[in-house]
C-alpha cells in the first residue's frame, strides 16, 4: 500500500499531478497567471499611478514581491527607493526584470522572509498583494502586518488600506451535482465492501461510518471555487467583515467572526442552495496621506470580463435551506485557520431563517473547509 514514509499519490494521477507542477510561486507560469489578471494588476496599477503624490521621492516596501511588478509601478510613480522583499527563488527573476526595465537604481530586491528583514530605513508606503481565497487563505496577511508594525513610518500608507468580506445567498446548479456525486460515492463504497468480502473474504464494514464522514466532508462540506454571475445571487450581498489594514493587529486576523443578515429578494424563490463569499480591498491611503483617486479591487460575482483569478467561494447547503422571497436569514460565521494546515481555512456558520411573517425557524449549524 506504499504508505510507509508518507509518500502521496501512488494512485492514478489526475490533473492534480500537473497542477502540483505549476502550483508554486517559483514558476513563471504561475506569476503570469497573476499578472494577466487585469482586474488585479490593473487595480494596483491604477491605485499607484493615479496617486503618484504618495510615491514621489518616497521609500516603499513591497512585501512578497514575486516578479517585482508592484515595485516597478512604485518606481515609475517616482519612489526614491523601493525594497522588493521576496522569499522564493522568484526574487532572482525579479532582479532580472527590474534591471531589464532600467529600474535597478531605484529598486533593491531583498531575498528573505519579511520576518527576517533588516532595512536601513523605515518605509513611507507598504504595497503588497497578500490576499487568498476568502481573503485570509494562505495566511500571508500575518507577515504583512508584522512588516507594517516594524517597518512602516507613523502615518505611512498601506496599499491596500482596507479589506472587506461579503456573503450573498445563491442558487447554483453545482449544488445538485455535488449531492449526486456524494450519493454515488457512498453507493460505490457499499459495492466495494461487498466485492472485497466476496473476493478476499475481508470485511470492511467497520469503516462505513468513517468513509461516510470523509465523503460528506469532501463533497458536501468543502467550499467551491467558482466564477458566479449576479443572476446566481437570490439576494444582495452583505458585508460580514471589515479590516482596517492600517491598524489591525495580528490577533485581530487570526479568525474573523461576524453576525449578519441575508435578505432573499429574487421573485419566486422558495429555497437557497448556499452562499457565495468574496472580498474586496480599497486603496484609500492614510489619514495623513490620503489618495486623490480611490480605487477598489473587487472579486465578487459579475460579468465574465470582470472576474479575477480568485473567483469566489461557494458554500453549499445540503439539504437546501427553505427560505422564500421576502424572507431573511440571521447568520453568524467564523472564518479560521485550520488546525491541520494553517494556510487553509475553515468556516463555521449558523443560519436561522426568518419568514416574512417574522416567525423564525431552527438554527442550522454548518461547517466547510476552504481548501
Amino acid at each position: 500500500m506504499a504508505s510507509d514514509g508518507a509518500a502521496p499519490n501512488a494512485g492514478k494521477p489526475s490533473e492534480g499531478d500537473f497542477h502540483s507542477y505549476f502550483c508554486t510561486y517559483e514558476f513563471i507560469y504561475h506569476q503570469k497567471q497573476m499578472i494577466e489578471d487585469q482586474v488585479r494588476t490593473g487595480a494596483y496599477h491604477a491605485a499607484i499611478m493615479r496617486n503618484k503624490h504618495l510615491f514621489k521621492d518616497k521609500v516603499v516596501l513591497d512585501i512578497g514581491a514575486g516578479t517585482g511588478i508592484l515595485s516597478i509601478f512604485a518606481a515609475k510613480a517616482g519612489a526614491r527607493k523601493v525594497y522588493a522583499v521576496e522569499a522564493t527563488a522568484m526574487a532572482e527573476r525579479a532582479k532580472l526584470i527590474i534591471a531589464a526595465n532600467g529600474l535597478d537604481g531605484q529598486i533593491e530586491v531583498v531575498r528573505t522572509m519579511v520576518e527576517q528583514l533588516e532595512l536601513e530605513e523605515k518605509a513611507d508606503v507598504i504595497i503588497s498583494e497578500w490576499m487568498g481565497y476568502m481573503l485570509l487563505r494562505e495566511a500571508m496577511l500575518d507577515s504583512v502586518v508584522k512588516g507594517r508594525d516594524k517597518w512602516l513610518k507613523e502615518g505611512g500608507v498601506m496599499f491596500p488600506s482596507h479589506a472587506n468580506v461579503y456573503l450573498a445567498p445563491i442558487r447554483w446548479g453545482t449544488h445538485e451535482r455535488q449531492s449526486d456525486q456524494h450519493d454515488d460515492a457512498i453507493e460505490d463504497w457499499y459495492g466495494f465492501v461487498d466485492e472485497t468480502k466476496a473476493l478476499y473474504d475481508l470485511d470492511l464494514n467497520c469503516l462505513n461510518e468513517q468513509f461516510e464522514e470523509e465523503t460528506k466532508e469532501y463533497f458536501l462540506q468543502t467550499s467551491h471555487w467558482c466564477e458566479l454571475e449576479k443572476h446566481h445571487m437570490v439576494g444582495p450581498a452583505t458585508k460580514i467583515n471589515s479590516l482596517d489594514l492600517r491598524s489591525c493587529s495580528v490577533d485581530d486576523i487570526q479568525e474573523l467572526r461576524s453576525e449578519f443578515e441575508l435578505s432573499v429578494t429574487a421573485p419566486g424563490t422558495d429555497h437557497i442552495q448556499g452562499m457565495v463569499g468574496w472580498f474586496d480591498v480599497d486603496f484609500d491611503g492614510s489619514d495623513q496621506n490620503p489618495v486623490e483617486e480611490k480605487i477598489t479591487l473587487t472579486t465578487g460575482p459579475g460579468p465574465r470580463a470582470e472576474q479575477t483569478h480568485w473567483g469566489q467561494m461557494a458554500f453549499l447547503l445540503h439539504p437546501p435551506l427553505p427560505v422564500s422571497s421576502g424572507g431573511k436569514i440571521k447568520g453568524s460565521a467564523r472564518i479560521y485557520k485550520r488546525g491541520d494546515n494553517m494556510r487553509l481555512l475553515g468556516m463555521d456558520s449558523s443560519l436561522k431563517v426568518e419568514k416574512p411573517d417574522g416567525s423564525a425557524g431552527e438554527a442550522r449549524k454548518v461547517k466547510w473547509n476552504v481548501d
Copy 2:
C-alpha cells in the same frame, strides 16, 4: 503576488485542489482505490493464499501495511504472528479492520517508520507493496530493503522477490496534443508580454528564454501516466532492469542504469513517438523456501480489464524519432531520484537508430521528469 512565505495556489484552482485532498494515504478513499485494483490485490492474494506453506506458523512482517489487508491475507494463510508496520494514521484504521475480522490475536499493528522499528523476533517472510510509477517512484523500496537487512531471517522470503522494468516503442495520439499545447503556451506567452508592455509599460522579454525552458520541461519533458493497449506498441517490450529483492542493496537502487535495444516491428512504421515504461514483480520465494505456484503482478499495456492503478509511463519524443519497421534503437537509460524531490524520478536516455541496412544514426539525448 502573495509569494512571501511560500504559500502555493492563490491562483485559480483546478482538479488539483480536490486531488490534493484525497491524495494522501490517510484517506480511506485512497486506500479503497488501491484495494479495488484487482490486478494488484488479486496478485498478492493469490501469491499468499496459493503458497500457504510459506506462511503456516511463520512470523511475517508487513512493511507499509496501510489498511492491513496483506497482513490479513498472511494471517488467513496461517501465520503465527504478523507485524503490520504503518507510519501514518491509517494504522489506527488497520487496527479496527483487523479486530473486525477477528484477527487481532495474530496481527499486531505497529505504528512507526520501519527504520525505527523494534521487534522481539526476526521474520520468516516480508510482505510489502512498495511500488510506485516506473517501479521506484516514492522511494519506498529503500525502507523495505533496510527492513529486510535488519529483520528478515537468513533464507527468509521476500514477497515480492523480484522486480523488472520494461520499455517498448510506441505511437500514441497524445504526442501531438502535447506538442500543440506546448506551441500554444509559447504563443500565449508572447501575447502576454506584448499586452503587459501595452497595459503597464512593463517589459518582460528578459524572461522569454526561461519561460520557454519551463514550458518545454512541462509539456515535452514530463512523462505521462497512461493506460495503453498493446496496439499502441510498435515493437516488443524490452526488459531494461531486474532487481533481486532478496539481495539488492540500498546502493543498488539509488538509480537504475541500463543499456538496451528496442525493435520496431509494426508494419508500415516510419517513426516512433516515444516509449512506454512499466514494471512487474514476481513472487518466487527464496532458494530455501520456494513457492509452489508462481504469481506475477504485471502493469504493462493490455486489455482494459487488466489495467492497474499504476498504469504505465509514456516518455514522448519531440520531434518523433524516424525509425522504420525492421529497424532497431540502441538505447541507454538512467532512472534516478530527482534532486528537487527525492520521491520523484527523472529518466535520462540516449537513443540511436540502427537502420535495417545496419547503418546508424546520431545519438539523441533526452530527459524526462517522472512526477
